[in-house]
């Protein structure tokens, strides 16, 4: 009889131990995901800081393309004004990327501008920042994938259900561009 009780105690201990482990694992993954999300802000902030310099450098050359420049400035202001996580700002940020793409495409028609060292430097910096934003989003997606898998699969699903862990959203734009090389050409 005594041994039987010991078996029960052992079984309970194992189950409780596993619960604690699974719970901690889920919490860790959740914290990691939100950390990865706020890391993206570092990169988007860098882009906000670079854009006024770019506009300043380009203004003198592009007299006839006022609206291209205005679009960039407007998109930047809108993205900055939007509150929330960088996941919630994804649409605005992608729009900003597109206006920049247009700007650099138009800049191709200005040989003087393309010979300007300052402009070239800014162009390179912005292209690199764009790459870094993509990279940071990709890291976030990898973490979210881990978390969502843990929430979905048995047996950690039980713990996730009890403590109401919810699945987190991905960056969609990244998955659409997944198949392309990381390189971004402006």
């Amino acid at each position: 009889m005594a041994t039987f009780i010991w078996y029960i105690i052992l079984a309970v201990a194992v189950i409780v131990g596993w619960f604690v482990y699974a719970y901690n694992r889920l919490v860790t993954l959740k914290i990691r995901s939100s950390e990865a999300l706020s890391d993206i802000d570092v990169q988007t902030k860098r882009r906000y800081d670079l854009i006024p310099n770019l506009v300043e450098a380009v203004k003198g050359y592009m007299q006839h393309e006022r609206n291209v420049l205005e679009n960039v400035t407007k998109a930047r202001t809108e993205a900055m004004a939007t509150t929330g996580t960088s996941l919630e700002r994804e649409g605005k940020e992608n729009f900003l990327s597109n206006t920049l793409k247009t700007l650099f495409a138009v800049a191709e028609n200005y040989p003087d501008l393309k010979a300007n060292a300052n402009f070239l430097d800014l162009q390179r910096e912005l292209a690199d920042t764009e790459n870094k934003i993509q990279a940071a989003r990709r890291f976030y997606n990898a973490n979210v994938r881990d978390l969502n898998t843990k929430i979905e699969v048995f047996p950690s699903k039980i713990v996730a259900n009890i403590f109401r862990f919810e699945k987190i959203e991905f960056f969609k734009a990244v998955s659409a561009e997944e198949r392309e090389p990381v390189k971004v050409q402006f």
């Binding site: 990865a36 890391d39 990169q43 390179r124 690199d128 790459n131 870094k132 993509q134 990279a135 940071a136 990709r138 890291f139 990898a142 973490n143 881990d146 997944e178 198949r179 392309e180 090389p181 990381v182 390189k183």
Partner: protein
């Protein structure tokens, strides 16, 4: 699959490697102290093996960089390489490793350092010249996966521990040869006898040491780093075509040697003997698996 699932296993493996090293060296010391009834030998062996373990844990990355003649690069001079490493380490969630360059025309790369904060990625100048951006990204992503998985801890520590055993065996085999030739008077004869026993013991040990490297840095680890790397760049073709270029390039890598062979991105020894002690899976197999990855 979870990020860096093999990290803990690799840290355990490193300590196992230390344990085996200590047991082997102290065991040899004990053996000889019994034979010659001299406890000094055992004390020496204990002291020596502990010292070597410390050196290999704290300094092996520096030793590896030194024997590979790698020099640190500045961001201003190698902007593209620097940006590639920076961006991929963001995607991998790793701190920015230090970037080193090996001034050689051969195409290769390696990662070292005992943890991710002290990690180093080194590439040859030939690699930078001959690979395009997406190929370089593939190679760097592979190396960063080694860092994330702590493969480079095991393999770097192994360089010093195993390299040391190989060096000793070389030394004794050589002195045995010379001792055998010059064994005229009695003193010399006895010395040659000691040398011979130790030489034989170490000659047996050093292939075991090489096998240890292979166990620690098994081939599946390279496949895993390839797959993880492809997941980072989301472009397996970049790594695949880098592998193709590297395997068709026959420039020998001067900076590599027996002890550091397993560290490199692509096996530096390209002879027939190399395939017997293979530290890397065949390139064709790696390329084939990369092309099968479905992202």
């Amino acid at each position: 699959m979870s990020l860096y699932a093999h990290k803990e296993a690799n840290i355990r493996k490193t300590f196992l490697l230390f344990a085996v090293f200590l047991i082997v060296i102290i065991g040899i010391g004990w053996f000889f102290s019994k034979i010659y009834a001299n406890p000094g030998i055992l004390i020496f062996a204990v002291f020596f093996s502990v010292l070597m373990s410390f050196i290999s844990y704290w300094y092996s990355d520096k030793i590896v960089l030194k024997i590979s003649r790698a020099v640190p690069v500045k961001k201003e001079n190698y902007r593209e390489l620097y940006n590639i490493v920076e961006n991929l380490s963001i995607a991998a969630g790793l701190p920015m490793p230090r970037v080193y360059l090996i001034n050689e025309p051969a195409l290769n790369a390696f990662a070292t350092g005992r943890d991710e904060k002290r990690a180093v990625v080194a590439v040859t100048s030939g690699l930078l010249e001959k690979l395009d951006r997406s190929e370089t990204e593939g190679v760097i992503a592979h190396e960063l996966s080694h860092i994330g998985n702590r493969d480079m801890l095991v393999s770097t520590v192994a360089v010093v521990l195993v390299g040391f055993v190989a060096l000793l065996s070389d030394f004794f085999l050589r002195s045995m040869f010379w001792g055998g030739l010059g064994g005229r008077d009695r003193d010399k004869g006895q010395a040659a006898g000691i040398m011979m026993i130790m030489g034989i013991a170490l000659a047996i040990l050093s292939p075991i040491a090489v096998t240890l490297i292979q166990l620690a840095i098994s081939r599946s680890r390279e496949f895993l780093a390839d797959a993880d790397g492809a997941l980072l760049t989301r472009y397996p073709e970049g790594l695949a075509s880098a592998l193709q270029k590297i395997s068709s390039d026959k420039t020998p890598l001067k900076a590599a040697n027996k002890a550091t062979n397993h560290l490199w991105f692509s096996s530096p020894s390209k002879g027939k003997v190399a395939s017997w002690f293979m530290t890397h899976p065949p390139t064709e197999e790696r390329i084939k698996r990369l092309r099968e990855i479905n992202l």
